[in-house]
Each structure stands twice: as structure tokens, then as C-alpha cells.
Symmetry: C2
Subunit: 565 residues, 2 copies
């Protein structure tokens, strides 16, 4: 109700008759404000005073228009519409230095794009480390009138999961690019729909800075009516953490992932990686006289952050009443086998299978490693760490500005034969470049993501990889070094799930296939914020010559300064 | 020596024969780095790794070229060359939203201007609250070969004074524009040439964050040779604090202020307000067997910050050896009479008098007050608080873009008869506007700065007012309400000092006269960083139609986006 009110006050929804595609127009003001999402007061980037920002609601086929005004003081930003493919509007992808110049202070720009697929998506800042400042929110795209989901529910609710740091994003970013390297460390708390609880008594801080009784950090409440069925649209936009999510005493049935219907399967807890979205169906079928815990826990990394807690309450209970139980323990953080099993369970739902092309035209094998460049810690793909270009790639390529970026193509593969993924690399050095991958338009591309040991002995991390502008088929994954001969034979070409974000497990690989059928330039990167910030990503160009006239709102930096007229 | 080496390594000086005007070219990279100037580690904006940045050295008539690259992560900035009049180059004044769009991340721009007057100047960030992040340095303009100063010295040295906050500028700025208002408070330390000493044991912080033995915060050392004479060019770029500066056991003779020779007078301690520069002559004529303290203290506000300490050492003593004495006490902080007396002592030096025009064509009487606008705390001039325009004033006026700013002229005076400057105003509300003062070109303008009670009972502050693009004569000052009839009669029209920054004392007034003979748009504002940030300033336009073609580097924001071609 409050959320609806907030939407009413803070956004402008233009309703036209529901029989035709509608325009959903939002006016957003982006600025810094002091907030205490986990009881600790810090600077947060808000949209119309909110973090998470307003939920974008659209119906398949609608046009979404977001007029964004930069009211930050000295900072620029860009907003990425994560999961929206931006077919025909690659300039609206909102990825700083890939598809646009950052939006400068004082400027108002208009993002316009089609919600061309139903499902659960998110939006978030895509510039530097700004996502961690709280600039994000949910997107729900519903089916056209008269079209039904293959699963039934009474109510629909978005829940954004996040990890939360008390250091400013700018301080984090500076530390990451310092010598000596200052890692951001584990988050101070986990947020469920923007609310967490930091233990203020663990530090010596005045109560105006940290106060666990501050109503701003009262737990998030999921209110249900006994007997009803709920669709929870769960998304993770963590900076770093892989998470589990569970609701005490309630099973969840996974039905959607990244906008695609999946063969339903039941879980006690959902594993979710940064950049992923899931819909789960949950029935309010337990003892309605009490409340239950909804919890999120760090997995994949040794947790140093307490679980995030929300309250799952049956009407008409007192919503903020703590459940009578201790919150259920999360899963064992390093049970990779169990995490892997959930990934394996994800299949396209019968009747909703998009069959992949049987073969690909080009295979990219991407070894992802932690490296050192001139003493700085970086992350690299095939030993090349992505540098920020002078001019956004989309503009540089569309306008054929060859000096704007490196021209030597980055490598399609790595020396798999001689590279030991299970040990610290003998040579930790890498190079960096602003070169990108040029794909032939309308071809099919396989990408094998190969994970390896980091610079620390016996240590490899889970990386969620996100592709802009496309969905991909997840053809397979495994632990160990990918075998181009044997593992390709085991690819699932029958009912692979389509996604836009997928985890690559420690020392493991994940195989993707996608069609380069969306003209533009698209980032493909690890969704862990400090990893992409340190170069763990690539960009793919395809059919840039087919891209329409670029709008001027994306220009104004580097060599695009002269293109504003 | 180290400084010279640093200059050698970090800047490019192009030397052409000294008989003609030279070009002094600098290449600067501006970025965030972790530094511990007062032993507390925080993010600092550096130039080529330094804060204070490299000292600009030029000879009168030289052209200074500074190529600045923005390597901040998501922030823009602008650099103001404080005291340089920018005659013929108003676009190089470096004042965000007045003379230029902020310089965006990744951009390289070139400031070019003539060092047309000898003297002591500074440069600093002029955007939001960024000056407090450490982006500043000294400018020394020497006389042409063969021209002598009217005072003798063997060595010349710049010393920048500052106050220092541990909170980031962004956090400060957000707090200032919050409801409830969060004032920045008193600084944590005072810096002498970028070095201070915070008492780390007063807080619970790990030693990697605060460590008083960190060599980065070893005291600044002024090394002298016994018997020699020194010119110390002392500048203050404090965010908030008025300061005193003294050297234990040594008298100082004030000889220059803001680039003008003044009738010499001797002081034990120098009072200096933010934005002011002074040259003092000091003789190394004391017992050379020991070191002495150089100290700076907060004045005008109840000090809550320990004195800043540097070491004045005679060669060949151990420079870092603490003097055997306790540092001398600073002056009584609220001895306004003594501070006022120093202002009164400032007269143009015989032989160097620039006689002011005997009358003015227009008199502006500026009442400056702390106010409330829609619940926000602001500062105002004649009840109007300056808002940031959509398009920089210089561009809007030169290109005649009337929609870019408010057109109703701000008031020339206030209701002096009915305003009680000694009490809290009955109506604290003010308005805000992007309107500016249009001056007739080549006319003489008087500005009477009238200080008043703040929103707190029996409380008024010292405000240093700085004029861009011009020097002004200081015709007089006093305590109480300015009397247009009586006080004008007492104006010093014989030997008034010329300055670019002048204090206005609590409950007092200061009268200035200047000639509007520099085509452009120029800020005139309180040099206290949070005060100008909250609207305590105006802008003057004169002869904008005579301004040459604006360079594109100042464009790209607001309505100037379309002017880049």
C-alpha cells in the first residue's frame, strides 16, 4: 500500500486504453541523501527519495520512458535496464563508456525502450562503483491482457536483495585502484528490499549515526493472507555476495529465471547470484497465527556478514512481531555441489522451450583471472583487462572513430593446453586494452567461461556473468577445465534455459550460446561490482552499421563532444 | 629541493629565452588517492599525486597553459586561478556554472591565461565542496627580469594554510543540503603546506587508518640559513576557518597582500582569511642552535581544533627536531578589535598606489544573511540565495539564452532602515534565484558588504568575500550598520589597498570599489566553502558582448550541449 502510494506520488504513469501498447512514463530525480537502510546512516543515491527506487511496471509491448535528472552534486551516472534487450534502442542500455557518456550533473535525459518480453528485471547504476550506493530498483513486465502464465498466483511482489557497505562507493573505488590494493572486504549487512540491520553496538558510534531502533531500518515485511498463493520476484543486485534466500517453514517453487519460464522445481532455499532474477511461487499454507523469518545468507565466500532478516507475516498478525523462533540457519556457504545442483535443475519449461541453433559459428573461450598490471590488481579475460575508452564504444564504432579505442582484437581463446587453472599463475601480469570483440551480425556465438585459481593458493571464486542486449542459452556447466571435444558433446540442446546472467563456479566452466542479432555494442561482464570495475568484462559489437541515428543524450564526452549538433 | 625535483618530474616547463614572455605549460592529472595529510587516511583529490598540487611559477607577462585531465572516477571538477584576473580569457576562470561546465570524467581541457600581474596567488577547485578535498596549490608570479621588488629577500617560499575535515566533501555537501541540516562542524586539524597532525589516540581507529608516526604527516619544515632574509608567501584556502599564523620568536613584516605591495608593517602574528594571500619578510636572526615552532590557530570562531604546527629550522639543525619550547599560544580567538586593526593597517605602499576613481557610478549594498528556504538552511545576499543555473552564466549571456537563468534582476540594496542587523531576523525566509547583476561596462561600482546576526542570538560571523576577474579597492570598514551618508565620507581614497579577497567582520561592514572593465561574468562570493555552496554569492556581468569566441572546453552542459560544434 505504502509502495503504491509512493509510486503514485513519485512517478507519473500515463494510462492509455489497455487494449493497445501503452507508454509508461516516469520522472526521476537522482540525488544523494542520508539514509539508514541497515540502521547505519550513510550517503545513498536515491530516486525520488527512495532506495530501492520506484518499481517500473509495464505490460509486454509497452514503451517505457524514464526522464532522469541528475541532482547529484558533482557526479555523473548512467542507469542500466538489466534484462531489457533494447532491441532497436541500443543507446538506451545505460552502460557508461559502452553505450553512452555518463549523464552530467544538472542534465535531464530520457531513456526510452520497449518492454518486449514479460518477466522479472531490474535496473541499476552502471558506472564506476555506483551501484553499491543504492541506485537500483525492480522492473515487472506482465503479460498482455488475456494471456496467462503457466503458473497461478494471487499476488505478485518484487523483492530486491543486496549486500551493503558503509564505506562510500568513491572510497571503495579509490582503494581498489590504489597501491597497495585495498579490497572492499565483506559487506557490513545484507538488505532485503532495502532494509537490513547492522549491529550498532559492535562499533562506537553516536546514535544519530547508528541506531537499531531507527524506523528506517525496521525489517522488511512480506504480508500474506492465509491460503493465498504468492509470486515473489526475487532479484539480487549485490556488489559482491552470492546469496541464499529462504522463508522459514515454506517451500518455494521456482518458475521463472531472468524472464523465462523454467520447469518448476521446489526448493527450501534459493541460491541467487548478483544480476539474476527468479520468480518463486509460495503458498501461505502454514500456521497463520505466527510470523516467520525470511532470511538471506552469504554463500560462496566465507561469510563475515550476518544474515539479512525480513518478516513473513500472516494477516492479521502484528507485522513487525518477531517470529517466535530463531532464524533458520542458512545453507553451508561452500556447498558448491548443492549450488551447482540448482544450476543444473534449471531447464526451459515444456511449452516454453526456445530451441537453440544446433551449432555455433564462432567459439570464444574466456579464461577469467585475477592479475597484476603495473602493480595494480586487475581482473582479466584471456589476459586482457578491459579499460575505459575515451569515447563510448557504441559512438566510436557507429561514427567510425578508430582513434577512440584500441584496434588490436582481443584474443578468442587462451593457451588452454599450458594453463593450469588449479594453481596460482606463474606469471600474474596481464595487459589492458579498450579493444572489443566484433561479431558477425546474425551469427551464433558460443562463449565458454573458464574460471581459474586467483592469486591466492587453492582459491577460486564464483563469478556471475551478465550479457547485455541478449539472452543466452546455458548449454552446460562443469567443474574443472572445459574440454572442447568432450564437454561440447554433453551440451543440452534440447531444453536449455535462457538467461542473461549465469554463475561460473570455482575452478569451473559454464557454456553459453547466443545469437548476435541485436545491432549495437554490448557489455558482457562479471556482475560483481569491483570485478567489472577492475576490468573483468568484454564488449561485443554486432551490426553496428544497422543501428539508427544515435540520440545526442548519450554524447558529450571524449570524441563525441563534437557530435552534439 | 624535493619540491624542485617534484616539479621537474611532474610538470613540463618549456623555457624560451628570458628576454621575452614565456609559455609555462603544465600537464596535470587529477584523481582521487588515499593520503594521510594529518595522519588520518582519507580520499584526497591530487594533482600528479600531490596535494597541495605543483606550484605554478611564472614571470609577469608569461602565458600559463595548464592541460588538466580528469581521472576522477565519476566526478567532474573545475579549477579556479584565484587572483588571476583573466583579462581577455574569462572562460579560463574555472568557476563551475559561472564561467564553464564542469570538466567531465576522462576529459582533458586546457586552461590558458596571462600572468599579467606579479604577486602571490593560488588555484583551487571551484565546484560544489571539492576545494576541501585537497585540490589546490600556489601560484607565484615574479617580476620581469631587471625589475626589483621594493623589499629585499634572499629566498622565496610559498606556504598554503588549510583546515582539514575527515568527512568526504560529498558527505559534507549532502549533509548541508539535508533536512535536518547537518553542519560540517569545526575542522579536525589545520594543515600547513598540506601537513597536520590529528590526535589519533582521541579516536578508536586501526593504525592503518590513523597513525601519528606515518611519515606522510611529519610536520612541514621551513628551513632557513642563519642571517638570511626570507619572503614567505602565505595563503589561506580554508574551508571555514579564519587563521592566525606566527613563527615563534620571529617578527614578520607584511609587504604584499593579494598581489599588491602594501606599506610595510610588522606583526607577531598574521591574521589571514580564506582566499587571502600575504607576503611577509622574515629574518633568520634568532639563536640558530635550535628550532622554532611555526603555528596556525583558528580565530573568529570558538576553536575546537588544535593549532597546526610546522617547524622553522636553522641549518644545519636536525629539521624534524621538535623545538625545546611549547608552541606559543595563538591570539585570543575573538579579539575582533585586533583582527580589525590588521585590516586597518593595510595601505597601498608609497610609490605603488593605484588611486581609485573619486566617485562610483553605482552602489550596491549587500546584506548577507543566513536564511531558510523551504526548510533548508541557505545563505543569501539581499535575501536572495544564488542557485546553480542550468547553463553557465558566461555561456548563457554570451549566446543570449534567456531561458537559461532567471531574468528578474536581484536587488541592489536592502531595507536598511527597517532591518536590525544586531538581532535574529523576524522572518528568516529567503528566496533563491539564478539571476545575476548586470553592470555597465567600464563603470565604477561600489559594493558595501553588510554583515548581520545569523539565525542564532547574538551571533555573527566573519566572511571573507572574493571577487573574480578584478581587484578592488578597500575603501573602509567598520562595525555596525553602514551609514551611506556618514561612512562614505570616511572612505580612504588616498592610499587604499587593492585586494581580491577581504574580510567582513561580525556585525560589521566593508566597502569596496572596483571598475567593471573586464568583459565577462564573474563570481563574487563568500570564500567559506559551505557558505558559497549554500548560495552566499552573486555574479557580475559586464561587457559580455566584448568577450571573444568562447572555447568549446567550457561547454557541454545544459543549453550549451548544442554549442559544441
Amino acid at each position: 500500500m505504502l509502495k503504491l502510494l509512493a509510486l503514485y506520488f513519485f512517478t507519473t504513469l500515463i494510462h492509455v486504453p489497455i487494449t493497445e501498447a501503452k507508454i509508461r512514463e516516469y520522472n526521476w530525480e537522482v540525488k544523494y541523501e542520508y539514509k539508514s537502510p541497515d540502521c547505519f546512516r550513510k550517503q545513498v543515491i536515491t530516486i525520488n527519495g527512495l532506495s530501492p527506487g520506484p518499481t517500473i511496471l509495464a505490460q509486454q509491448g509497452d514503451t517505457v520512458i524514464v526522464n532522469v535528472t541528475n541532482k547529484l552534486i558533482t557526479e555523473s551516472f548512467a542507469i542500466h535496464w538489466h534484462g531489457i534487450r533494447q532491441r532497436g534502442t541500443p543507446w538506451s542500455d545505460g552502460t557508461a563508456w559502452v553505450t553512452q557518456c555518463p549523464i552530467g550533473p544538472g542534465d535531464t535525459v530520457t531513456y526510452e525502450f520497449k518492454a518486449d518480453r514479460p518477466g522479472t528485471y531490474v535496473y541499476h547504476a552502471h558506472y564506476g562503483m555506483q551501484r553499491t550506493a543504492g541506485l537500483y530498483g525492480s522492473i515487472q513486465v506482465s503479460l498482455p491482457d488475456g494471456v496467462e502464465e503457466p503458473f497461478a498466483y494471487d499476488f505478485d511482489q518484487s523483492i530486491l536483495l543486496n549486500d551493503w557497505y558503509h564505506q562510500s562507493t568513491s572510497a571503495q573505488a579509490t582503494g581498489l585502484t590504489s597501491i597497495p590494493y585495498m579490497w572492499v572486504g565483506e559487506p557490513q549487512s545484507l538488505l532485503i528490499q532495502g532494509k537490513g540491520k547492522f549491529n550498532c553496538s559492535s562499533v562506537t558510534l553516536p546514535t544519530n549515526i547508528c541506531n537499531t531502533t531507527n524506523p528506517e531500518c525496521s525489517p522488511y515485511v512480506i504480508t500474506v493472507i492465509p491460503g493465498k498463493t504468492y509470486r515473489l520476484r526475487i532479484a539480487s543486485l549485490t556488489a559482491l555476495s552470492a546469496l541464499s534466500f529462504q522463508i522459514e517453514g515454506h517451500k518455494m517453487t521456482v518458475v521463472e529465471a531472468d524472464g523465462y519460464n523454467v520447469e518448476p522445481f521446489e526448493v527450501d532455499k534459493l541460491y541467487i547470484y548478483s544480476g539474476e532474477t527468479y520468480s518463486v511461487i509460495i503458498k501461505a499454507d502454514q500456521d497463520p497465527s505466527r510470523n516467520y523469518w525470511a532470511t538471506t545468507n552469504v554463500i560462496s565466500r566465507h561469510p563475515n556478514t550476518p544474515p539479512g532478516l525480513a518478516i513473513f507475516t500472516y494477516e492479521p498478525n502484528e507485522p513487525q512481531q518477531s517470529p517466535p523462533t530463531v532464524p533458520p540457519a542458512g545453507p553451508v556457504w561452500n556447498d558448491t555441489a548443492d549450488q551447482f545442483a540448482q544450476s543444473q535443475a534449471l531447464k526451459a519449461r515444456q511449452g516454453y522451450i526456445h530451441t537453440p541453433p544446433p551449432t555455433s559459428d564462432r567459439t570464444l573461450v574466456f579464461l577469467t583471472t585475477q592479475n597484476t598490471i603495473n602493480g595494480y590488481t586487475r581482473w582479466a579475460v584471456n589476459n586482457v583487462s578491459l579499460d575505459i575508452p575515451e569515447t563510448p564504444f557504441l559512438i566510436a564504432l557507429k561514427y567510425n572513430l578508430p582513434n577512440a579505442m584500441d584496434q588490436t582484437p582481443p584474443p578468442d581463446t587462451y593457451d588452454s593446453l599450458n594453463y593450469d587453472i588449479n594453481n596460482v599463475a606463474k606469471n600474474k601480469n596481464a595487459t589492458s586494452s579498450t579493444a572489443i570483440y566484433r561479431l558477425k551480425f546474425n551469427t551464433t556465438v558460443d562463449v565458454i567461461m573458464q574460471n581459474a585459481n586467483t592469486m591466492k593458493m587453492s582459491h577460486s571464486e564464483t563469478h556471475p556473468w551478465h550479457l547485455h542486449g541478449h539472452d543466452f542459452w546455458v548449454l552446460g556447466n562443469g567443474i574443472g577445465k572445459f574440454d572442447l571435444k568432450e564437454d561440447t558433446k554433453k551440451f543440452n540442446l534440447v531444453n536449455p534455459v535462457m538467461k542473461n546472467t549465469v554463475p561460473v563456479f570455482p575452478f569451473g566452466w559454464t557454456a553459453l550460446r547466443f545469437q548476435a542479432d541485436n545491432p549495437g555494442v554490448w557489455a558482457f561482464h562479471c556482475h560483481i561490482e569491483p570485478h567489472f570495475y577492475l576490468g573483468m568484462g568484454v564488449a561485443f559489437e554486432a551490426g553496428v552499421e544497422k543501428v539508427g541515428k544515435l540520440p545526442t543524450f548519450i554524447m558529450g564526452c571524449g570524441q563525441s563532444r563534437g557530435l552534439l549538433n
